[in-house]
Symmetry: C2
Subunit: 334 residues, 2 copies
Amino acid sequence: MKPVRVTLADVASMAKVDRAVVSRVVNNDPTLNIRPETRERVLLAVDRLGYRPNVAARSLRTSRAHMFGLFIPDFANPVYAEIIKGAEAAAAALGCVLVTGSATGTGLGGYMDLLGTGRIDGLLLAGAGEGTGLTAELDRAAVPWIMLNRRSPSVQRYVILDDERAARLAVDHLVGQGHRRIAHLAGPDGADTAQRRFAGYSAAMREAGLPDGPIAAADYTPAGGAAAMTELLAAPDPPTAVFVANVASAIGAMDAVRGAGLAIPRQISIVAVHDLELASYLAPPLTTVRMPLEELGRRGVSLLGSIKPDDAIEEVLDGPMNLITRGSTAAPPR
Amino acid sequence: MKPVRVTLADVASMAKVDRAVVSRVVNNDPTLNIRPETRERVLLAVDRLGYRPNVAARSLRTSRAHMFGLFIPDFANPVYAEIIKGAEAAAAALGCVLVTGSATGTGLGGYMDLLGTGRIDGLLLAGAGEGTGLTAELDRAAVPWIMLNRRSPSVQRYVILDDERAARLAVDHLVGQGHRRIAHLAGPDGADTAQRRFAGYSAAMREAGLPDGPIAAADYTPAGGAAAMTELLAAPDPPTAVFVANVASAIGAMDAVRGAGLAIPRQISIVAVHDLELASYLAPPLTTVRMPLEELGRRGVSLLGSIKPDDAIEEVLDGPMNLITRGSTAAPPR
DNA sequence: TCATCAAGGTCAAACGTTTGACTACCTCCC
DNA sequence: GGGAGGTAGTCAAACGTTTGACCTTGATGA
């Protein structure tokens, strides 16, 4: 077969009908009155010619791109992989493509330039885009946008997870094992998720009648986690357990604990937010709280598909969230 | 500012010129003769109105989408993150958007449906798409495509890395430390990378005057790696070192070694292909061979930008490739 | 017999760019 | 005076869909 560019007109002439009929058949237009045999003829022609609609022409006419954007800070963070997966699936269900971009490639500034006008029908901002003038520009271009798992300081347009509940799950688990000196290896100061996880930690400790333990902040990387953990271990009355705000930090934290010559979980227990396949293969396997990230991506896209440009969205997604108990947590040393 | 949809016509009427002039100014058409002051007027109008070209209309007219696709099996595999990064950057340099899709969301079949006709100017296939009828369909739609780090059995259109060299680097390192019974934890049977890494392993062993050690295949996941490693350890004369074809497998492999009660690197050394930030934080830190994956993505896109549909491409990319020695390799037990 | 109605389509005008062809004006030179 | 040539633009036809308005035919009801 040679490369060909099949258009509506080709199909129409093969099926001996007007282009309009083909268009309506292809799009299942309910207003179309058509004899079954004619429809058959059209579908046959579509099939024989291998017709696929030209998306540019369609977009131009309908001013809908059938494409959503998802912007993330970095593909290397596996936490985002699940969000992408859910978002892709939801977009596909809507007959749309998801284009995922990261800040590592172009930066947010260039991103809008590249997307031009009318390339996407909506944009999901996952942990990126705060503070920049991007949202204003999106509004100007009438592109709906939603922040995922981040609240924006000014505008109320977000879907977040119940990070407080996640933190409670983790802390309650530690408390249940008998820990009383529980530290918190928090997320970076600016991050909204970090604040919510801290709030949950603090509330759970209070409810258990325990004072907040030592706290150290780290960005969501192994290196950051290692540094913060070293800090926590140097505290005057070191903790017997640590609730870590992020699994990537936790990996670094575990290394720091080993570096200090302490045994996990015999001398110190660790539990982190976000689960990874890899967590089972660490030494020891890491106890985590699994968050409904895939659901988050899915929900984001489906909201994008239905919101009006000025709708406010403030949603706390309650998907399944559970503690996955592995070897990194145990009763404290006596 | 209210949402507006600014078109060429708006700019033209504000600048008191024809739409054609605006178009030529915006696109820097060298054939245009224009007075500097007129150009200024146009640019001013563009700026004041916040004009951005409508990509759908442009694509329709020029039949170029200014968009490239990259298809990967799974976002959760951090190895692909680097490829994406490079590809995004190269696309941006060409003024194009990169849309990355994965098999987890829609499957390859649906992917083409969604992309329709004319949505992308070229597609990079990274470890996905073999065997399906996809490439035939791409050819039919006259969409250039290139396989990344995979050779297709039939058509010769690929860019690969020098996996043989990577394997040699790893094996030579082990040989240099005095190992003589070196096993290979290979990749999945079908994978082209697995074959090349095996070939490199085998060649390096031969050159060192050593016989191939035991070999076990695994998919590129921790679970697969753990199972295969267990198999290797059960061999009659167990190896003192293992060359693992992939870092994800290696993480599982390390766990299996620990499960068997053996110490790394004292009783068994491990080295794997592909580096991750995380490798430094494993226990012990994992020795790896770092591959130029970012370069691979970059090169893929830039080739896409320049090839003709029927060009053959058979390129072995020689970017920097180096052994990163960490704690998982040492001299064999005596 | 004529108006009405439904079925089964057809017609043609957009959508916003790009681009080859064309024009209007001026200058220069013989 | 007239032709050549250059400058600075203008004109209008595509590109492939979608969609509201319109048309034709045959059947039905009064």
